[in-house]
Amino acid sequence: MGADKVEIAINTVKIAIIFLMMIQMVPLLVWLERRGSAFIQNRFGPNRVGPLGLMQLLADAVKFITKEQFVPANAVKFLFLAAPVIALVPAALAFAAIPLATPIHIDPFHLLGQSWGPYTIEMQSVRMNVGIIYILGVSSLGAYGLLIAGWASGNKYSLLGAIRASAQMISYELALGLAIVGILMIYGTFDLNKMIEMQQGPFSFQFMGQAYEISWLPNWGIFFQPLGALLFFIATFAESNRLPFDLPESEGELVAGFHTEYGGFKMLMFFMGEYGHMMVGAGLVTTFYLGGFQSPFVWQTYDYMLNLAIAHHGPGTVASALTTGYFLIWFSIKVGLLLWVFIWVRWTLPRFRYDTLMDLGWKTLLPWTLGNVALTAIVLYWARAM
């Protein structure tokens, strides 16, 4: 967190900004979802409130805030109110470890009669040297939010919906953990920043001693592990209970599954948890398989962009801020595209029945990921050790 008080303060503000940025994404994603589904189903979607329905976000927010704080009769009051916060914690903690861009280097400057020393601010809340294990550990806590919500609302059907949702979540967490092993074998590290550094430059690999290089492909993880990327992406759908995996909320008698009795801002918090998991999933897919925050066509390393900026603006804060902004834009473009795929799949694919859903998790995804791990190990051994 930095040595002196100032750096700790800067980092705390940065953590709060990244968390609030994640929270601000929720109304935007809700709007994108409604416009997107309207576009897919050939209708208009919200366009009354402000241009293109953008003010609809504000209208939704006000509606959620002014709803009545309703707690049903045989609910356990404290847990009933605590469940939305518990559902929000894993997504926020997991998003903290995803690298957004290269760090900003600020040169010493003079302000308010004091000279402030040089700072480097990491563009992520916490730089973990076991990044991916921490993210898996924290997102496995997501099941508690559902279980407590289902049990505390005293409604028999929401309890059943909660247990179904958490059973689905834990079985796909297995496939998620195994799908990552394939790409981890190739990177050989858990640190997400090192993984992104490894994905620089044109596509190059060693095979039986010679090094090959394909100059028109970027050196991204998806070209090393196409099957692993697909399996990981499917598993992130199920992790965030998104369609076609949101069956526990949609059956006739389960009505809305574990959040049947919830309304107002508590409901919005469950949305924040769901969209938070979606953004963590999209961030992980970009970091592992799509080269993190790097631009696809300028394949040189980071310093290429830095030198370009320095050539125009001279070394200093402005140059590094420009490169960080450049990479931040590329990161948000990739995550945005993946979020659109989440929404696009939701409004095109039909829903699974519960037993086919669990069969897919245990009988197709799990064997495929095990096969992928075995195949990668053998091919790696054949390529590198022979």
């Binding site: 294990i133 898996l136 550990g137 049990w151």
Partner: protein, 168 residues
Amino acid sequence: MGSYDVIFYILSIVSLGAALGVIFFPSPIYSALMLAITMSGLAAMFFTLEAYFLAGVQLIVYAGAVVVLFVMVLMLFDLRKESQPFSGQKISNFFKAGIIAAASMALIIPLSTVFFIRTEKTKPVTTVDLAGTLFTKYVFAFEAIGILLLVVLVGALALAKSRGGTHE
């Protein structure tokens, strides 16, 4: 009293308090949630010991799988608050003396040496060392764990399939 020590004391108070909650809450679902807090607190304490990989594994295995199983099973039993959760049977004096002796020994020895022995934090044990030792020195135990897991899987299946009782 650096900031490192303050964090250690906060985490240990949280973990021990939650552990006390596990055994003193009458309704078992509350004690299961307290167990989840204890596990996460211990994961944070592994962080202070710079065993980052262990902290992540603790979160994945304990806080995210074992305690979720406890919570699920308790919810399926649908128990409400237990009338009198503590077993009232008498504990013989000999047994009580043994407990008090063991407890005091376990506390006095580390507490007494706190004032004399000063252990400095060394270079941390990295995950690569852990993996290196695991697959070279302890590889037999590693394979034995694989067989143990298979046995447990077969056992759990047999238990789940059995109707309980003597028929068929």
